[in-house]
C-alpha cells in the first residue's frame, strides 16, 4: 500500500490503547477521549504505559482537546486554517482513533453535488430491479451515519453553498430521507456519528458557509506553526516517514534542516512585512511546504545525486517549489538570496553551497 490510512499504520498502538482503556467512552467510540488525546499527542513516562506511543500531530494540546470534545457533543467539527497546517492529518488521526475508520471521506470540489453527500443510484440496477436499497449507492457520509462512525468532508468551502447546505439536515436531524423509496426510506444516524470537515482559510469568500451551517459546526482554527522547535519536529517526523516509505538510506544533516527552517522563517517574516501581494510569495510557506521541499531534495539526491543530501540541492528544490509566478516570486527569492543568504554565506558552512545552488536555480528559471 502506497499510503496506509492511520488506523492501519498505527493499528498496534490503537489495539494496545484499546486494551488498557478503562475510561468512559462516549457513544460507540473505540477509545475514551483521554486515550484519543494520548494517541494523537503521544505518551509521557508519567502516563505509566508499558509501551511508548509516538506523537503524531504537533501543535497546541488545546486544539486536540477541543476537537475531541466537539466530536463527543452533537456538533460537527470544522478544522480551519492555512494550507499545510495539518488539518487533514488531524482529522484522519481523530477518525482513526475514535472509530478505526478514517476513509469515509468526501472531497469538496466545485463539482461536488448533493449526491456525493447523500446517495446516488446504480443506474443499471435501477433499470433491472427498480429503485430499492440494493440499487442505492450510499455516500461516505451516509455510510458513516449508518455505522455510527466519523465521516470526513475535506475542503468544505470548495463545494458550492447549496451542496454545503445538504449537511444541515444531516447534522441537525441526524437522518437522511430517501423519497424515491416507498418504505425503509429513512437512514437514521447511529450513535457515534459525527462529521469532521476541513476548510482552507485562504478560500474564504469563495463559497462562504451559511449561518445555519456555521451554527452546526464548532470551529477550531489551526494556526501556522511558528515555533521553530515544533516545526523541526514535524519536518523530521514526516521526512523519516517518507524515507521509510521510499526505502531510502539517506541522512538529513541537522545543519541542513536548520538552513531550511531558517529560510522559511525569514521568508515568512518578509511576507508579513510586505505591503502588497506582489511583494509576497504566492506560497503560504506552511510546514507542509517545507516538507515538500525537503522531500523533493531527498528524492533528487537519491536518484540523480550521490545519495547525500547537499545544501545546493536543497536550495534548488526550495527555489523550484516556491517560484510559482514569474517574475514576482523570482524577484522576491532573488532579493532574499542577495540580501540574506549572501551575508550568511560569508560566515561559511553549508550556507555558501546553499547560496550557489539557489543562484543557479534562479538563473535557470529566469
Amino acid at each position: 500500500m502506497l499510503r496506509a490510512p492511520a488506523e492501519i499504520k498505527f493499528a498496534d498502538e490503537l489495539d494496545y490503547l484499546e486494551s488498557i482503556d478503562d475510561g468512559a467512552k462516549p457513544f460507540s467510540w473505540r477509545l475514551s477521549p483521554r486515550m484519543v488525546r494520548l494517541f494523537i499527542l503521544g505518551s509521557e513516562p508519567s502516563d505509566g504505559l508499558d509501551r511508548e506511543i509516538g506523537q503524531k500531530w504537533f501543535g497546541d494540546r488545546t486544539f486536540v482537546e477541543r476537537s475531541i470534545v466537539t466530536l463527543a457533543s452533537d456538533r460537527g467539527l470544522l478544522l480551519i486554517g492555512d494550507p499545510g497546517t495539518g488539518k487533514s492529518w488531524l482529522a484522519e488521526l481523530l477518525a482513526a482513533a475514535i472509530c478505526r475508520n478514517s476513509t469515509l471521506v468526501v472531497q469538496g470540489t466545485a463539482g461536488t453535488t448533493e449526491d456525493h453527500i447523500k446517495y446516488s443510484w446504480n443506474v443499471s440496477m435501477v433499470i433491472a430491479k427498480g429503485q430499492s436499497r440494493e440499487s442505492m449507492i450510499p455516500s461516505p457520509i451516509m455510510t458513516a451515519m449508518e455505522r455510527g462512525v466519523i465521516g470526513r468532508f475535506e475542503e468544505l468551502t470548495r463545494s458550492t453553498s447549496d451542496v454545503q447546505d445538504a449537511l444541515i439536515s444531516i447534522l441537525s436531524e441526524k437522518y437522511v430521507s430517501i423519497p424515491e423509496l416507498d418504505d425503509d426510506n429513512i437512514v437514521f444516524a447511529q450513535p457515534g456519528f459525527s462529521i469532521i470537515a476541513t476548510a482552507n482559510s485562504r478560500d474564504r469568500g469563495v463559497n462562504d458557509l451559511s449561518s445555519a451551517l456555521k451554527r452546526r459546526f464548532n470551529f477550531v482554527r489551526i494556526p501556522v506553526v511558528t515555533s521553530k522547535k515544533s516545526e523541526a519536529e514535524i519536518v523530521r517526523f514526516r521526512t523519516e516517514e517518507l524515507l521509510r516509505r521510499h526505502r531510502i538510506e539517506l541522512d538529513v544533516p541537522p545543519t541542513l534542516l536548520d538552513i531550511l527552517l531558517q529560510s522559511f522563517a525569514d521568508l515568512r517574516a518578509a511576507a508579513a512585512s510586505a505591503n502588497s501581494d506582489d511583494e509576497r510569495l504566492e506560497s503560504a510557506l506552511s510546514t507542509a511546504e517545507q516538507i515538500g521541499v525537503l522531500e523533493d531534495a531527498i528524492l533528487h539526491s537519491n536518484f540523480f545525486g550521490d545519495s547525500t543530501l547537499r545544501a545546493g540541492t536543497l536550495a534548488g528544490s526550495l527555489v523550484g517549489s516556491l517560484a510559482r509566478r514569474s517574475p514576482e516570486d523570482l524577484a522576491i527569492l532573488n532579493k532574499y538570496w542577495h540580501g540574506v543568504v549572501e551575508p550568511r554565506a560569508r560566515e561559511g558552512g553549508d550556507w555558501q553551497e546553499f547560496l550557489d545552488g539557489g543562484r543557479q536555480a534562479i538563473a535557470t528559471l529566469s
Binding site: A24, P33, R34, R37, E44, S46, R61, T62, E65, R66, I68, V69, T70, A72, S73, R75, I80, A199, S201, R204, L209, S211, K214, R215, N218, F219, V220, R221
Partner: protein, 938 residues
C-alpha cells in the same frame, strides 16, 4: 522536636526509589521539609503569600481576625508607607508609585525612574493593610528596600533596562489591551512573586499539569486546594512551594543574590523596629512572599545574625503618589496570562459570597469585629503536609448553577457583540465545558475550561465585532477592572486642574471622552478653563485633551472652542505631572526653563520657548528672561543650522510685539542687533562652507535684509553687511545665485545684470546641467528680496523654455519636492506672480509675449510722481519739512506748479495725460462725484 520526621523519611525513601540512591534529589526533598519546619518555628509569625491569590487573601483575613496582631510587617518598599493611608479614597486596583526625574547617583539619561506596586482587593496585602489601617492601635511597617534601592540593586547596565529583579516586572512596551498600558514604563514591584525561576521548570510543570499557562497551573494545583484549607496547612504548603522554587533555581543567578539581599534587609529592619518599639514578637505578623519565607540567609529570624549593612539611598529626589491601575495592566506588567487577575478577583468574590470570611475593607467602615482576641500560640509544629500531598484535591471549580448562568450570560454577551449565538450555543458551551474538564482530569470545569468551551462553540471563522469570545469571557468573569484615585488622594496639581475645570461641568471620574463646548464671547468666565486646557494640551499626551475647534497661536484668540477631554483615562499622566509642581503654570514654566537652559539648547529652541511662554503663560518677566537667554544662545552659536527657524520665529515675534505692544522689548532689540552682527560675521564662511545648506544661507540673508531697517535704527552699521557680501565667494551654483540676489538687493548690481548673467548661463553648454541649482538659489533668494519674485518667474520660465530635456526632465521632480520642503511659504508668492505674468486663458497664450522679451519701448512707463492729490496738497500747504530735508540733502527745493483750482472740471487730471480717461468717465457720469463733492462741502 520536629513533627516532620515521618514525612522526611518517606521523601528520602521516594528519592532513593526514583533517583537510585540518596543524592541531590533527596537533599532537595528533605531540604524543603526542613525549610517548612524552620519557617514555622520562627518566633515572629511568618505569613507566606502569593501575589493576587484569593486563597492567600482568605487565609489572611481569617488569620488576622484570629490573631489580631499589634504590628504587621509587610514586604513592600518602605518609602511607600505614607501612601497607604490614601488608599481609602481610591477605587481599587490602584498602584503606589515612586517617581524620580532629578537623578543624583544614577547614570545620566536613565530617568525618569518609576516604581509601581499595584494593589488589588483580592490580595493578602490589601487585607493586611486594611486591617492595620482600620483597627486602632495597630502599626503597619513596610520593611522591604526603598524605591531607590530597587534601582541601586539593578544590574550594572543601568536602571531602566529590562529584566526582573526579585518580585519586579517591567511593563511591556506594547501592551496588548487598551488599558494594559496604565503603568507606563514603570518597574513593578509586587508582594509574593511565586513562579519557577527558570523556563524549563515552568514548561515541565505546565506540560505535566496539562495546562496552558502558569496562572492556570497555580489555580488548579494550589489555589483551589488551599481555598478552604486550615491555616497550618496553608502556611506549610506555601512555604514548601517557596522552598521548591528556591531550591530549583539556576546556580549563581544574580537575581537570587538580590532576593537574598532583600531578605537580609527586611529582617534587619524588623529587628531594628522590634528593638526600638519594644513590641512583643508574639503580637507581630510578618507578611512576605512564600519564596522569602523559605529563606536560608544568616539574618533570617529574630535570632539571626545582624551583620547586614543597609546602604544609604542616593540623593535622588523621589515623589510619591497613587495612580490608577487595572487588571490588564497588572497582567502585562508581571507577564501573567490575560484574564488571570480578573479570574482571581471573581474567585475572591465567589468565596466571599459563600460566607465564612468577613474581609477587611478601607471604604470608611471598619470590618466587623469578631473572634476573641489573640489566638492561642501553636504548641508545636504538626505535619499537615503529608495529608495535603497524599490526598487528592477537593473538587473545586464551578458549581452547576454558576456554570449554567455563565453559559447563558456569555451567549447574551456574544450576541450583543455581533455573534450569531443562540440558546443552543449556551447548551453546547455547558456540555463542552463539562467534557473538557473531564478530559483534563478535573471534577468540575474551571473558568479556563469554560473559556475554552465558549471559544469552541461560539467563535466561528471571523470576529464580527471588536472583541473575540476569549475577551468576552474575561469581561464576563469580572472584566478588566480599572481603578481610580479619589480626589482627596490626588496631588495638588491634579486637584487644582479638576477645580479649575469645574465650570465646564465635566465628570472627572469618567474614563470616556467628554466633549466640552466653550463659547468664550458669550461666557467669558470660561476663558480660564480654556487656558488650563491649552496648557494641558501642551503638557499631557495627545489623547488627554484634544481641541476639535479653536486654536492657540501667537496673537490669536478663539471665540469658540470645542474640546475632547479624557482626563479620567489619562489620570496617571496628570498625577505624574503633579510630581513636577503645584500648578500647571509652574510645571510649564519649569519645562520651558529646562528647554532653554538645556546644555544642548539652541537659539531657535529658546525662541520657541519664548513663543510658548507668551501663548500659555503671558507674563512679561519670564518671557524677557527666556528672550535674554535666546540672545545669549545666538551669540554663542557657531553654526547657522537653525537660521531658517530663527528667522521664522523672530519674524512672528516682531509682528506680534509691533501689533500688541507700544515698544519692542529690550531683548528683541538685543536679538536683532546681535543677530545682525552674528550673521554678518558668519556670512562669508557660510557661503563657502560645504556643510551649510543654501536654505540656511538664504535664511541668514533673509534675517539681515528683512530686519535691516530695525537693526540700522538700533545702531548697526550697514557697511558690515556690504563687507560681508563682498567677502563672500561661493562656489556652489545655488549659493552663487543667492549672492547675486544679495548684491542686487544691496544695489551692487542691477536687474539687467542679473538677467544677462542668467541668459549667459543658459547658452553656456558647460554650465547648463547646473542651471537647476541656480534656480534653487534664486527661489531661496525670495526670502531676502521679495521684489525679485517677478525675476524668479522669468528665470524659471526661461529654464523651462531653453533647458534641454535630459537636464530638465530629471530635475522636475526635484524642483517640486524641494519647493514643497524648503520653500513652502515662498511658493504662494511665486504662483501669484506667475498668474499675474501669464495669460489667464488658452486664447491669450498665442498672442502673448513674455514681459521680459517685450521691446523696451513698449514697456509701461513708470508713473510720474503724482503732482496733485491730497498728499501733494498737504505738502504744498506745509512745505517747511520738505524744504529742510532738501536742504539737508543738498537739493534745490523747487516746487512744481500747482494745478488750477481743485474741483474745476477742466482741471481734473490736467497734470497727467493718463487722467484724461478718468475725467471723461466722470464727465459722463457726474452723479457720484457730485454727491461726493456735496458730502465734502458739508
Amino acid at each position: 522536636m520536629s513533627g516532620f520526621g515521618a514525612l522526611r523519611d518517606r521523601l528520602t525513601d521516594a528519592a532513593a526509589a526514583f533517583a537510585g540512591g540518596p543524592g541531590q534529589v533527596a537533599d532537595i526533598l528533605t531540604g524543603m521539609v526542613d525549610d517548612v519546619d524552620r519557617a514555622l518555628r520562627e518566633n515572629l509569625e511568618i505569613f507566606p503569600v502569593c501575589h493576587h491569590s484569593p486563597a492567600s487573601a482568605l487565609a489572611m483575613a481569617r488569620r488576622l481576625r484570629e490573631k489580631r496582631p499589634k504590628v504587621v510587617y509587610l514586604e513592600l518598599c518602605e518609602d511607600l508607607r505614607p501612601l497607604l493611608d490614601e488608599l481609602a479614597n481610591c477605587r481599587l486596583p490602584v498602584a503606589l508609585q515612586a517617581f524620580a526625574t532629578d537623578l543624583d547617583g544614577f547614570p545620566a539619561g536613565a530617568g525618569p525612574l518609576s516604581v509601581v506596586a499595584p494593589i488589588t482587593e483580592s490580595s493578602a496585602e490589601y487585607q493586611a493593610i486594611a486591617y492595620a489601617l482600620t483597627e486602632p492601635g495597630v502599626e503597619l511597617v513596610l520593611v522591604d528596600r526603598s524605591s531607590d534601592h530597587v534601582f541601586q540593586w539593578m544590574p550594572k547596565d543601568g536602571p531602566g533596562t529590562a529584566g526582573g529583579d526579585g518580585d519586579t516586572g517591567h511593563a511591556t512596551a506594547d501592551p496588548a489591551g487598551e488599558d494594559a498600558g496604565l503603568h507606563g514604563d514603570a518597574v513593578g514591584v509586587e508582594i509574593g512573586d511565586l513562579r519557577p525561576r527558570f523556563a524549563e521548570l515552568e514548561a515541565y510543570l505546565l506540560h505535566h499539569g496539562k495546562v496552558r499557562h502558569w496562572s492556570e497551573w497555580w489555580d488548579q494545583y494550589v489555589e483551589q486546594p488551599l481555598a478552604d484549607a486550615d491555616y497550618a496547612t496553608y502556611r506549610q504548603v506555601m512555604v514548601m512551594i517557596g522552598s521548591l522554587f528556591r531550591r530549583l533555581r539556576p546556580a549563581g543567578a544574580d537575581r537570587l543574590d538580590r532576593d537574598e539581599d532583600r531578605e537580609r534587609y527586611m529582617w534587619t529592619r524588623m529587628r531594628e523596629h522590634l528593638a526600638s518599639s519594644g513590641a512583643d514578637p508574639a503580637d507581630c505578623l510578618y507578611v512576605c512572599g512564600a519564596f522569602h519565607a523559605a529563606s536560608r540567609v544568616e539574618e533570617f529570624g529574630l535570632r539571626g545574625s545582624g551583620g547586614f549593612e543597609i546602604t544609604p539611598r542616593t540623593a535622588t529626589r523621589w515623589s510619591y503618589g497613587l495612580i490608577p491601575s487595572s487588571h490588564s495592566a497588572i497582567e502585562a506588567q508581571f507577564s501573567l496570562a490575560p484574564g488571570s487577575v480578573s479570574i482571581a478577583a471573581a474567585t475572591w468574590r465567589k468565596a466571599l459570597r459563600r460566607g465564612g470570611v468577613t474581609p477587611y475593607t478601607l471604604d470608611g467602615k471598619k470590618g466587623r469585629k469578631g473572634g476573641a482576641g489573640r489566638a492561642a500560640p501553636e504548641a508545636g509544629v504538626t505535619d499537615r503536609l503529608s495529608g495535603f500531598l497524599a490526598r487528592p484535591p477537593e473538587p473545586g471549580g464551578l458549581d452547576e448553577d454558576e456554570l449554567r448562568s455563565w453559559c447563558v450570560d456569555i451567549v447574551r454577551l456574544a450576541r450583543r457583540h455581533g455573534y450569531l449565538a443562540s440558546t443552543a450555543d449556551a447548551i453546547a458551551v455547558f456540555e463542552t465545558s463539562v467534557l473538557l474538564a473531564g478530559m483534563r482530569g478535573r471534577a468540575r470545569p474551571t473558568p479556563y475550561d469554560f473559556q475554552d468551551a465558549a471559544v469552541t462553540c461560539i467563535e466561528k471563522d471571523a470576529v464580527p465585532g471588536k472583541r473575540d469570545v476569549a475577551r468576552l469571557c474575561e469581561i464576563l468573569l469580572g472584566g478588566d477592572r480599572i481603578g481610580q484615585v479619589g480626589y482627596e488622594s490626588l496631588p495638588p496639581l491634579a486637584r487644582d486642574v479638576y477645580d479649575r475645570l469645574e465650570p465646564l461641568g465635566l465628570d472627572p471620574g469618567r474614563r470616556t471622552v467628554q466633549r466640552a463646548l466653550l463659547n468664550l464671547d458669550a461666557e467669558p468666565h470660561l476663558a480660564p478653563c480654556s487656558k488650563v486646557l491649552w496648557m494641558l494640551r501642551y503638557l499631557l499626551p495627545d489623547g488627554a485633551v484634544r481641541p476639535i475647534m479653536g486654536s492657540k497661536r501667537l496673537g490669536e484668540r478663539s471665540i469658540q472652542e470645542s474640546w475632547d477631554v479624557a482626563l479620567g483615562k489619562y489620570q496617571r499622566e496628570l498625577i505624574e505631572l503633579g510630581y513636577e509642581g503645584v500648578t500647571v503654570e509652574q510645571v510649564l514654566e519649569q519645562r520651558l526653563r529646562r528647554a532653554a537652559w538645556d546644555p544642548k539648547a539652541t537659539a531657535a529652541g529658546a525662541l520657541a520657548a519664548v513663543e510658548d511662554s507668551i501663548v500659555f503663560l503671558g507674563g512679561r518677566r519670564f518671557t524677557d528672561e527666556l528672550g535674554a537667554r535666546a540672545v545669549e544662545l545666538l551669540s554663542a552659536e557657531r553654526t547657522v543650522d537653525d537660521a531658517p527657524e530663527v528667522l521664522r520665529r523672530m519674524r512672528r515675534l516682531l509682528a506680534y510685539y509691533r501689533a500688541s505692544e507700544p515698544a519692542l522689548p529690550a531683548w528683541c532689540e538685543a536679538f536683532v542687533t546681535t543677530g545682525y552682527a552674528h550673521y554678518c560675521t558668519l556670512l562669508p564662511s557660510a557661503f563657502t562652507d560645504e556643510d551649510t545648506g543654501v536654505r540656511q544661507v538664504g535664511a541668514m540673508l533673509g534675517f539681515l535684509f528683512g530686519m535691516e531697517s530695525l537693526a540700522l535704527s538700533l545702531g548697526c552699521d550697514r557697511a558690515q553687511l556690504e563687507l560681508a557680501v563682498r567677502q563672500s565667494h561661493p562656489e556652489r551654483p545655488a549659493k552663487v545665485a543667492l549672492l547675486w540676489a544679495a548684491q542686487s538687493q544691496l544695489g551692487l548690481i542691477g536687474r539687467d545684470d542679473l538677467r544677462r548673467r542668467w541668459d549667459e548661463l543658459l547658452v553656456n553648454p558647460l554650465v547648463v546641467p547646473s542651471c537647476p541649482q541656480y534656480i534653487g538659489g534664486f527661489v531661496q533668494a525670495l526670502e531676502l528680496a521679495p521684489a525679485l519674485t517677478s525675476f524668479v518667474v522669468e528665470v524659471i520660465s526661461k529654464a523651462f523654455a531653453r533647458l534641454p530635456d535630459p537636464v530638465l526632465l530629471p530635475w522636475l521632480p526635484t524642483l517640486i519636492t524641494t519647493l514643497r520642503e524648503q520653500a513652502g511659504d515662498l511658493v504662494p508668492a511665486l504662483v501669484k506672480e506667475a498668474a499675474r505674468t501669464y495669460p489667464a486663458d488658452l486664447a491669450g497664450l498665442d498672442a502673448w509675449t513674455p514681459p521680459w522679451e517685450a521691446a523696451p519701448g513698449r514697456a509701461p512707463a513708470t508713473a510720474a510722481p503724482a503732482a496733485s492729490g491730497p498728499v501733494a496738497d498737504l505738502l504744498r500747504a506745509h512745505p517747511a519739512s520738505c524744504d529742510a530735508l532738501a536742504a539737508l540733502l543738498g537739493c534745490d527745493p523747487a516746487w512744481p506748479d500747482a494745478p488750477d483750482a481743485p474741483g474745476a472740471p477742466g482741471a481734473a487730471g490736467g497734470g497727467s495725460p493718463g487722467h484724461g480717461e478718468a475725467a471723461a468717465l466722470l464727465g459722463r457720469h457726474p452723479a457720484a462725484a457730485e454727491a461726493l463733492a456735496g458730502l465734502l462741502a458739508r
